[in-house]
């Protein structure tokens, strides 16, 4: 078996124990690849626990710029005894097994199709360093140094990265640099020429892109969008949205002279209260948001119905994880599409946004406040664990200083004063289904109204009249139509040739989907892609689907939830939409998807297909 040979196109998996400090070393590695100008996509696959369990970090380097999970591992850095044999077994034929050779490999490690690369990490580390706590951490840096040599990376990129990382704890720089060199030297001395996976600096590939996790971008979007009140409750993987918001608020929202904060971040007692806080604040004229994940969404459904019916502009970020119930809290999924689209009892529907990149997390979150206020309705930003918690290569964040917040229809003191006819909170004077709001305290005698979750007339008076109820409910449908004109449009990515087949995807699925489509295009199979950005769907979505003989809907849940929304809301026949799903908790893998699509399209059968992904964790 020939060792795998490739340049700037490979997948390395780091297998570690969580809580052992491996995260920062692995991160250092990924960031160094990025600094070499190479498209990189690291995925952290971690357990729902704090310390002592297996965790993996999978780094894909792709010269073509494919950022989805690829599937298959070319090299594993096996640092976890608990999973070592499995990590070994799952390597691709021709792959590289990097391990701590301070101890000999046991006998059952007898594959003939692998390249074994032993680095005596423990020994090297113990010889070089005294502090027992530091040893554990530096061992990780040693293997990073080893990799630098094996993959032919410029060591300076790594040393620079170390210096940056520890610029605030500079006493840590020398030992880390030493560790890097130890690894590099050992590899150079013992493994020269053995590794045919290489990297080469490129200046033409990533341009001005950045490396950032989606949750940080979401948080920054909320800062730029003008959010001032946050109600929240910790839950993986959404917690870091709020943590980042807090950090950015420290940086951008302290009053002159380091004083008080121009934001209130309230850690609530649970998710019901978190959304209640957001509703109260939004009702009272502040831009407010919360972030949560599956269980929180379920707990928020009563309040979401209130916000829908009382028409309160809340912004809710859902960083999806694998359900149902507590499910797999540290795995990714796009499993809450239905739960969010139709949250709450009664006839309710909610506006959804689907970001795919940090840049979109930023823009869509900021925009969500405009949309919520313009449409006086909840807007749910549908992120997921993969997007939210992993570093992503992304276009830079962009802000137009000339743009103005769209606060929607709000009457201020002077407008109220000037009003001639009787104002009604829920009167549709503009024919778009949206009334005019007022904020408490605005005017001494005009504009006060009584907000309620009960049926109400145009003046917000309680009513049990059938006609009043109907009129109100129909106006909400009208508003739903209005929304279609305001929400971000889907993005078409046409094939080079005319294609009879279309593929619909959204969120984090788009990377592997795009890669699969390009792979199949090289095989002569043309597929047009449509990336959905929002719910409700616009006419462009219907047109795309109607314009193709067969349309595949690729998504990361069992029940083809976005397809369900498409069927129902666009009036499509089921044959028009072939579900393709991947929902095992790992980000959808391109290779498996290619296989799946190939078989599917060859057989001509449009039945449900689930992508079966290989791989650990």
């Amino acid at each position: 078996m020939k060792p795998i040979q490739s340049c700037n196109d490979l997948v390395i998996r780091f297998a570690n124990v969580n809580g052992s400090g491996s995260a920062s070393a692995n991160n250092l590695f990924a960031r160094a690849v990025f600094r070499l100008g190479l498209p990189v996509s690291p995925k952290n696959i971690f357990p729902s626990n704090i310390q002592g369990l297996p965790t993996w970090y999978e780094v894909r380097i792709s010269e073509q710029g494919y950022l989805g999970r690829r599937g298959g591992v070319d090299m594993v850095v096996a640092m976890n005894g608990q999973t070592m044999h499995r990590d070994y077994a799952e390597l691709q034929p021709g792959g590289y097994f990097v391990y701590d050779s301070s101890r000999q490999l046991p006998e059952e490690y007898e594959r003939q199709d692998l390249v074994l690369i032993g680095l005596p990490l423990t020994n090297l580390c113990n010889e070089a360093f005294d502090n027992p706590r530091m040893r554990g951490l530096l061992k990780n840096i040693i293997y990073v140094g080893g990799l630098a040599y094996l993959l032919d990376m410029e060591l300076e990129v790594l040393t620079a990265a170390v210096e940056l990382q520890y610029r605030k704890k500079s006493q840590l720089i020398p030992p880390n640099l030493k560790a890097l060199e130890l690894g590099y030297d050992h590899a150079r001395r013992h493994h020269q020429g053995r590794c045919l996976l290489t990297t080469r600096r490129r200046d033409d590939l990533i341009g001005d892109q950045i490396l950032m996790d989606g949750n940080a971008a979401t948080a920054l979007g909320a800062i730029y969008g003008g959010a001032t009140v946050v109600g929240w409750y910790p839950i993986t993987p959404s917690t870091s949205v709020i943590e980042h918001f807090g950090r950015y608020a420290e940086r951008f929202r302290r009053e002159e002279g380091g004083g008080r904060l121009m934001a209130a971040i309230v850690q609530a007692e649970d998710e019901l209260a978190a959304l209640g806080i957001v509703i109260g604040a939004a009702w009272n004229g502040a831009r407010a948001f919360t972030a949560t994940s599956g269980p929180g969404i379920s707990l928020m459904s009563e309040f979401l119905g209130l916000a829908y019916f009382a028409e309160i502009p809340v912004v809710l970020v859902n960083v999806q994880r694998a359900g149902p119930s507590t499910g797999m809290p540290t795995r990714t999924q796009q499993g809450d599409i239905l739960a969010c689209g139709y949250a709450s009892h009664g006839d309710t529907k909610h506006l959804l946004l689907f970001p795919s990149t940090p840049a979109e997390c930023f823009t869509m979150t900021a925009r969500a406040f405009d949309l919520a206020e313009r449409l006086q309705a909840p807007v749910i930003v549908m992120s997921d664990l993969d997007l939210g918690m992993n570093d992503q290569l992304s276009p830079p964040l962009n802000w137009d200083d000339d743009g103005r917040y769209d606060r929607g229809k709000v009457l201020d003191h002077d407008q109220l004063e000037a009003l001639e006819e009787q104002w009604g909170r829920y009167r549709d004077v503009d024919g778009d289904g949206v009334g005019y709001r007022t904020f408490p305290g605005t005017h001494p005698s005009k504009g006060a109204y009584f907000t309620r979750g009960t049926s109400h007339d145009e003046y917000s008076k309680y009513s049990e009249e059938s006609d009043t109820y109907l009129q109100n409910m129909e106006r909400l449908v009208q508003k739903w139509e209005t929304a279609k004109g305001l929400l971000p449009l889907p993005e078409e990515r046409p094939a080079e040739e005319k294609a009879a087949i279309g593929l619909v995807c959204y969120g984090t699925t788009i990377f592997s989907a795009q890669e699969a489509v390009e792979t199949l295009a090289r095989e002569g199979l043309a597929i047009d892609v449509l990336v959905i950005k929002a719910f409700p769907f616009q006419q462009a979505v219907v047109d795309f689907i109607q314009g193709h003989e067969e349309v595949l809907v690729v998504e990361q849940n069992r029940d083809s939830q976005l397809r369900t929304l498409l069927l129902v809301e666009c009036g499509l026949a089921p044959e028009q939409l072939t579900p393709v799903t991947s929902y095992d908790g790992l980000p959808i893998a391109a290779r498996a998807l290619v296989e799946q699509l190939r078989t599917l399209l060859a057989s001509g059968q449009s039945t449900t297909t689930t992508v079966t992904q290989g791989g650990a964790a």
């Binding site: 904060l261 121009m262 209640g276 806080i277 109260g280 502040a286 964040l397 917040y405 907000t451």
Partner: protein
């Protein structure tokens, strides 16, 4: 509804200092049962706001769900109101208050709304010492769903259905004191004399002012055997002390004897003068306050009045150190760091 109410029903009452008449504090016609305690409390709230010369549109009235929670519709028409969902008023007020710290937040709830489904939110709003007046109209039952016992119903109390309540009652005042509310009082819907000044003091306090008002449900829980009936409460209540509430700017006209009168000065310089039976008892002492409640309970008595005040307590904004300006008044220029800052951030991420 086709009712109209004559628009000028209190010709005898003059305009207050802020230039408002009593009618300016009124609301829609009540749809509660005739004789319901809640209506009297609404009257007392209207009176208190009038007497304090509050600007009606600077008040926000919020509630959960229940007969009691309908109250905001029956007072302060010129104020914004929010009748939210069952048990969740405290979180709505929290958000509203965070958005604009300059208004007066009046949260109205029921014993079902607060002590059952709302217990979690109640506890945590108190713990954060949210600046609001939190009124529970406590009838020991779920009025709107036809009279089931609530968690404040006393063990052995017997309502209209004739079956005694089996479980121990929860004393919301005791819990509020324990969790750090800065102002805690209890009163009775039938005692406007006490209730109005109590409300005024609560409205003048900064931080959580919690008031539990026993408010008989005439339809389901006003039997002689009910401990939340008019009759029972009249027979079994005892006030901590009589007290006078003297708002800031009002002259003090009486000289109070030292020793038996305790003067508590609130943040806004209003003063509560308490004329106590026992000069040893300090209204600012949490342990004594809880103990006094327990002691009276053992004797089968309901202790009313100002139960506890901590005029120094810090409200949520102070604790969180948020801007002194209403957050909802901040403009884009102050909120949005702009493209230059973003350029920096992008740079850091390369």
């Amino acid at each position: 509804m086709t009712f109209f109410r004559p628009s000028f029903r209190h010709p005898q009452l003059p305009a207050n200092q802020a230039g408002y008449y009593l009618r300016d504090y009124e609301g829609g016609i009540s749809t509660l049962c005739a004789g319901c305690g809640h209506d009297s409390i609404n009257g007392a709230i209207i009176q208190a706001c009038y007497e304090l010369s509050l600007e009606p549109h600077r008040i926000v009235k919020l509630s959960g769900i229940g007969c009691s929670s309908k109250s905001p519709a029956y007072l302060l028409s010129a104020a914004h109101g929010f009748n939210s969902v069952h048990g969740r008023m405290p979180s709505i007020v929290t958000g509203a208050n965070m958005a604009n710290r300059e208004l007066l937040y009046l949260g109205i709830s029921g014993d079902g709304d607060t002590a059952s489904i709302g217990m979690g939110q109640f506890v945590h709003a108190v713990r954060r010492n949210l600046n609001m007046v939190y009124i529970v109209m406590n009838n020991g039952c779920y009025g709107l769903t036809k009279g089931q016992y609530s968690a404040t119903a006393d063990k052995g109390s017997v309502g209209k259905k004739g079956e005694p309540n089996l479980l121990e009652s929860i004393d919301l005042c005791e819990i509020a004191i324990q969790l750090g509310a800065g102002f805690v009082g209890r009163s009775f819907s039938g005692d406007k004399q006490q209730l109005v000044p109590l409300l005024k003091a609560a409205m003048s306090h900064i931080g959580m002012a919690f008031i539990d008002v026993i408010s008989p449900c005439v339809t389901f829980n006003n039997t002689p055997t009910s401990t939340k009936s008019y009759h029972w409460v009249r027979e079994h209540s005892e006030a901590t002390s009589t007290f006078d509430f003297v708002p800031f700017r009002q002259e003090i006209t009486t000289d109070y004897e030292n020793g038996s009168t305790e003067a508590v000065t609130l943040h806004d310089h209003s003063v509560i003068y308490l004329h106590k039976k026992d000069p040893e008892v300090a209204v600012t002492d949490r342990r004594q306050a809880v103990d006094a409640l327990e002691e009276h309970k053992e004797e089968g008595l309901i202790l009313t009045g100002v139960l506890y005040v901590d005029p120094e307590s810090e409200d949520t904004h102070t604790i969180l150190n948020t801007s002194e300006r209403p957050l909802n008044s901040l403009e884009q220029a102050e909120l949005c760091p702009g493209s230059a800052a973003l350029k920096e951030i992008n740079e850091e991420l390369r």
